[in-house]
């Protein structure tokens, strides 16, 4: 089936099999390997992407379901592929990662939190990150990074 997707701002058309998962399409066909496969069971969140601006787990999503929609992956956050997105910068500054495997999913989820719950405090950020697992268990810095990133995104928007 032919799908038309706005992938990181670029219109893409491709023929895909109905049983192809969205994450497989993103990684293997589009070669955007920043979106990770951790558990493949909808639990860890390493595969989190934005679908029409809302975070979803791309391991439990069919590529055909992307048809007609806008997808943002971690590669699509940095403006012109150069300057880090405020949330990426916040993860860097707050050392919000250890091994880094969960980081792309964390950041995509964090962007959703910052957009939909810009006033979230630490407790709410922890609740909102329930579906993203860091097996290095570096949550303290991740939460600090999400908080700082949300503030930076708000400041950029208000400017």
């Amino acid at each position: 089936m032919k799908i038309s997707v706005t992938l990181n701002g670029v219109a893409v058309q491709e023929d895909v099999e109905p049983h192809l998962l969205a994450v497989a399409w993103i990684r293997e066909r589009r070669r955007l390997t920043g979106t990770h496969i951790g558990c493949d069971t909808t639990q860890c969140g390493a595969c989190t992407i934005l679908l029409d601006g809302v975070s979803v787990k791309s391991c439990t999503l069919l590529a055909v379901s992307l048809d007609g929609h806008a997808v943002t992956t971690i590669e699509g956050l940095a403006a012109n592929g150069q300057d880090l997105h405020p949330m990426q910068a916040a993860f860097k500054e707050n050392h919000g990662l250890q091994c880094g495997f969960c980081t792309p999913g964390m950041i995509m989820r964090a962007v959703d939190i910052a957009i939909h719950r810009p006033e979230a405090d630490e407790a709410e950020i922890r609740r909102e990150l329930e579906g993203n697992i860091c097996r290095c268990t570096g949550y303290r810095n991740i939460v600090a990074a999400v908080f700082a990133g949300a503030q930076a995104m708000r400041a950029a928007r208000d400017k």
Binding site: P18, T41, E130
Partner: protein
């Protein structure tokens, strides 16, 4: 995943017309796709409901609240109408899965699946909701038949769920630390005509507890059911908890749900 045919019809009648032996409707896919990955479900075709209009949305119909089958948990949780009329249902949906799952998962998909540990069946049975399909209306009391089994006929499609608004309601669950599914979740709803208590997670399918409902109708307080216990013989027993433990949890969660409903 095994290959399958894929259809995305633009109407309820179109979706139902495509249904045949071993086809599945695809709503949010949060249960169906994981089952297909493990070959627990091997449909020959998926009928994707995402392009069917009118299945999505929340509206007031007379005294009831009607939620379209494709409405996501996230949409229910953020609905002002649901927050004002059915706050206990909001408490229920915000505990389903995780935020990203709630952005995809739908009420219709959850009910059609009837997972014994799903939250929604407790709310639907506890509130005595009506399941609206393409061909009829089914009372919640008749809908949940057994584990992963409902009263839906082959090819029958849920289009909406209609909830009566109670005087008060509460939902409290005890979750498995690993799976995050409830070991026991109890929904209590108080109406002018009586009290309904529905339990999920503890038994092979959601069930009501008349032993709680009668005393609560006379005295709506946690103390009214302090001495009432449920029979462990009908409870599930698995790696997450034994039958006696689950039976105990049902009592504790029911009392907490009553306290929650009392505000």
């Amino acid at each position: 995943m095994k290959p399958f045919d894929y259809f995305r019809p633009g109407s309820v009648s179109g979706a139902v017309a495509l249904a045949r032996e071993q086809t599945c409707f695809l709503a949010g896919g949060m249960s169906l796709l994981p089952m297909m990955k493990h070959n627990l479900a091997v449909p020959v075709a998926l009928i994707d409901l995402s392009a069917v209009p009118d299945l999505n949305g929340i509206r007031k119909t007379g005294d009831a609240i009607e939620i379209g089958a494709m409405t996501t948990h996230a949409a229910v949780a953020s609905s002002v109408l649901v927050r004002e009329t059915l706050p206990a249902l909001v408490a229920l949906v915000v505990g389903i899965g995780d935020p990203a799952v709630r952005n995809r998962g739908t009420i219709g998909g959850s009910l059609a699946n009837n997972d014994p540990a799903a939250d929604y069946p407790a709310g639907v049975l506890g509130l005595g909701a009506t399941i609206v399909t393409d061909r009829r209306e089914i009372a919640a009391d008749d809908f949940f038949v057994a584990s992963f089994t409902t009263a839906l006929e082959p090819g029958e499609l849920i289009t909406a769920v209609r909830f009566p608004v109670p005087l008060a309601a509460g939902y409290v669950r005890f979750r498995s630390a690993a799976s995050r599914f409830p070991l026991a979740g109890v929904f209590v709803a108080r109406f002018t005509g009586g009290v309904r208590v529905a339990v999920t997670g503890a038994a092979p399918s959601v069930f009501r507890v008349p032993g709680f409902e009668a005393p609560l109708a006379k005295d709506f307080s946690p103390g009214a059911i302090e001495a009432v216990s449920v029979d462990p013989a009908r409870m599930l027993s698995d790696i997450n908890g034994g039958a006696a433990y689950r039976a105990h949890l049902v009592g504790v969660m029911a009392r907490r749900a009553v306290a929650e409903a009392m505000g």
